[in-house]
Symmetry: C3
Subunit: 397 residues, 3 copies
């Protein structure tokens, strides 16, 4: 039996009725079975692709992408996922668009969704804004569907908001699952999600939040490490705590990178902005106070610079389990001596993990495709089995 067929059989055991036509905002909205389903379908689609079997479930249709912040990895992952399933991508470039000053999100949402089967949105710049934008957008298209404006109900894939980065966290997790040989081997593994110094300012919190919000569901000991002042959103910490309690793992915090790295099986050192400062920035932004924003930035850069010792050096890596923890990053990383003078990680450490890092990233298209697949296909088990049985070549000859 093919791997895809086996995975379809596993999928059959999961309760996933609510995924059909549903949006994907945050991993913690989803049940364990639903999370499992995304991993399962992602692996199945990858297996089909590896065997040159077509996974087109659409003969036409559009995936709309809206990147309110720059993106390479996620942009190409979304494009790949859409193409894998038979959708064409139409990007909303707000600069080239006639989006009137004051045009409502509701209007834009309907105007770009005429033939949209899926909407992918990245909006991660301002605390309290990104998720709100996605929600307003999706409420509008849902209404549009019920009002007969749209012939199909588009569903959302959150390509990063201010709260979660589910396609990243799930690609990361699928990488971990395969790296350690299965989800059953994860119990008790120690994960260090750690802040690290970067010369740049104000990176989103959604990656660390996504990681602690998801990784705590697998019975692992997740440690969140950062200097004082670099707290993440308290709501997400609450979720991490509950997850850990339910899964038999733990969630703890520390202000010492070394403590987090000690005997860790997995390390994820990455810069992010302090939550409180991001909240302040959002307020200044809303008030149009550019001078305030500039001053805040200066203050934050100064604050940042006090923590240059938060770096994933060779020394630091030696503290991890047998000195061989799995190093993870969402990329691009700030690499000391390569992309900056002092950054998140030593060049030698980063270089040693290049292949696993790229492999980690390579799961994202399949995670996105799985999210779309589960939202658009009524009977995903049958669909996977049929695709495999039919075995139409993706590339002929």
């Amino acid at each position: 039996m093919s791997k895809a067929m086996e995975l379809a059989q596993h999928l059959e055991k999961l309760k996933i009725n609510n995924m059909y036509k549903d949006d994907f905002y945050w991993t913690w909205d989803k049940t364990d079975d639903e999370i499992d389903a995304v991993f399962t379908v992602a692996d199945a689609l990858r297996d089909l692709r590896e065997r040159n079997i077509s996974t087109k479930i659409f003969d036409s249709g559009l995936g709309i992408s809206i990147f309110r912040d720059n993106s390479t990895r996620t942009r190409f992952s979304f494009a790949s996922a859409c193409n894998l399933l038979g959708l064409a991508v139409q990007d909303l470039d707000e600069k080239k668009s006639q989006i009137a000053h004051g045009e409502t999100v509701r209007e834009t949402a309907n105007m770009v969704s005429f033939m949209a089967d899926v909407i992918g949105i990245r909006d991660d710049m301002f605390i309290g804004e990104g998720h709100k934008y996605q929600k307003t957008f999706m409420d509008a298209v849902k209404e549009g569907y019920y009002d007969g404006i749209l012939e199909q109900q588009p569903t959302l894939v959150n390509l990063q908001c201010d709260v979660d980065h589910p396609t990243q966290a799930m690609a990361d997790m699928l990488h971990v699952i395969h790296y350690f040989g299965g989800v059953e081997n994860l119990k008790g593994k120690k994960v260090a999600m750690s802040w690290a110094y970067s010369p740049s300012y104000g990176k989103p919190l959604s990656v660390p939040q996504g990681i602690v919000g998801l990784f705590t569901r697998f019975g692992m000991d997740v440690v969140l490490a950062h200097p004082e002042g670099y707290e993440i959103m308290p709501e997400v910490e609450e979720i991490a705590k509950k997850n850990a309690a339910a899964s038999g793992g733990s969630f703890s915090k520390t202000n010492s990178m070394a403590e987090a790295f000690k005997d860790a099986d997995i390390v994820y050192p990455k810069s992010w902005a302090p939550f409180a400062a991001m909240e302040e920035r959002t307020k200044l932004y809303a008030a149009g106070d550019q001078k305030g924003i500039d001053e805040l930035e200066k203050k934050l850069l100064a604050q940042n610079a006090e923590h240059k010792d938060w770096a994933c050096t060779e020394e630091m890596m030696k503290l991890t389990r047998d000195g061989k923890a799995l190093y993870m990053h969402c990329l691009p990383a700030d690499i000391t001596g390569l992309s900056c003078k002092e950054g998140e990680v030593d060049n030698s450490v980063f270089d040693r993990y290049l292949v696993p890092l790229y492999k980690e990233a390579s799961y994202k298209p399949y995670i996105i495709a799985a999210m779309i697949f589960l939202a658009k296909v009524k009977d995903p088990v049958k669909a996977l089995m049929d695709l495999d049985a039919k075995g139409e070549a993706r590339k002929e000859f």
Copy 2:
């Protein structure tokens, strides 16, 4: 029998032989049967889509879009229409292109049309320029086809020029037809195509021109209202008059918004620039006289500001038939208190018509697809019937 099948039978009765391989510049180039055919095919394609039946008539091929002005609605409508029929969109972004200073339109036209089945062009900025550009472009590709440079003859969909905006006007009209329960119910209805104040300057005339040029063909009483100095192109007024005479309706003009709104069944209040000033601007532009353009703009903004009372207020709406005329707009509108301090329409009026407004916009992809369908398919009746009979799923599973 399905709705699409019924519509195909209606299509069979129409004389539409000349549409095959023909371009779509202006609605008044087309016979009544041809206009009817576009509505009929648009409705049929929408019915097929609603029943998840594939309408792909191309297995590959390109739709080339050229937006010489910003666009969201039309851009996504064109992309949706192409996708619906199986074409991929390739956008000519003149900023990213190596279009040499002085490169002829003839050369560009051939260079971007290698695999083009359809060309969509928006060029609405300068009176006397937009249509000319489209014509030059299409003459060039036609020649290119006959000279064996291109393997297929691309056809044009005018996505807005300086004279007409046929995809807008026809989407608007299809909305009206369905709103009033059929074309047979339109005779004697009063339509107010009215100028309205907007703080922005120089909006194209193609929307009001497109509306009076098309709506007068359905036996309605079309009133064009604007302050003195905001005349539209006299050629288009002539067409409106002829249309009205032929259809048993009327075309009249007034300098009073209230008079136009009085007992109107449909109101379309929208800002546009004065024709004479636009002609002047074109001359200044041709002469490269930026100072002259800036001065003209100042003058026009001042002139504009004298007519802030031309607004679709609740008061004004009360004048219409039972106070319930159908409010229409091509979007985005300048909404008083929402997108600007003083604009074309009261927020409460606009808000009450949100669903019909979005529905109105939702016809555009189907209108564009119908235009392409009729230009590319030799036997559109058979094609619709075959698509319906085959019933291939657009989305499998």
Copy 3:
């Protein structure tokens, strides 16, 4: 028998086993049989297309385009070629991407190639850089494929580098082959690849290099003409010499345009930058010396201006074989009196050759498609025959 079928039979006689999964950097990397195969497949695909037969060999998949310099012709040619074979294009717009300062080409290459079947890259600005970038990129994706990061091995189509412009040179050559009625008629024909004056500065050398590197393989007498100081890369001259010796033609140089044009059957007058100056510019660029670059530019423009007599005038054309040499250009040309005051070619000459010039350009999509086809299809003979035999309509109805 169809033309495509005949061409497939010709293809069967060629030794082309090494083309499968191979990259296309430079024409001189390829054997005569391989060059022949590209022409043969290009003609076959064009014949199928002319007969409305689908040439889709992919049901999904992506062609990634990276234009590090502006492009219209090549951009639309690449898009057309991908579409012809069933691939969607995803463009890497470095401005919209989150390509970190210092991010390695290796990382970018893997991150954009998740579902890529083919990569098209234009990078022609700096001597010593363009090819290096392409090589680094392709080495990275090859590694990525072997490391299991990518499920398919993408192959390269060089869309212009600092050394060669193979899709241009081969489209040009296919035009010549058809113009003269077959490759067997080319022996002894005189080709003048000549420098010509343009008011713009620093055009790439890859076109003249591509032409002398390819045209010398067909037994023709290729003359490279330019003012002193406008030498091309010596390595390419060496290749041209070897080619000429092997093919029974000749390769010579002159500093007189008239001498080159004398009795020429083909003339290709085009501006390019002097090689030595381009090398200097690359060094200044690497050192970040903008002032140095500006000074160099001034010097070069002054040097350029001394050679305004290097123009393809009517006078000059009279020197050619019966005054009727085939005039060629990669477009856009700098046309005296049309796009500039003094340029590469007289307007009357250019205008007389418009149709052949556009025809010349129209081969490029097929050349690119043939390169992709031969790199992705294991048995191209069978593939062509099957496509023809199946005869699926590209456009139904």
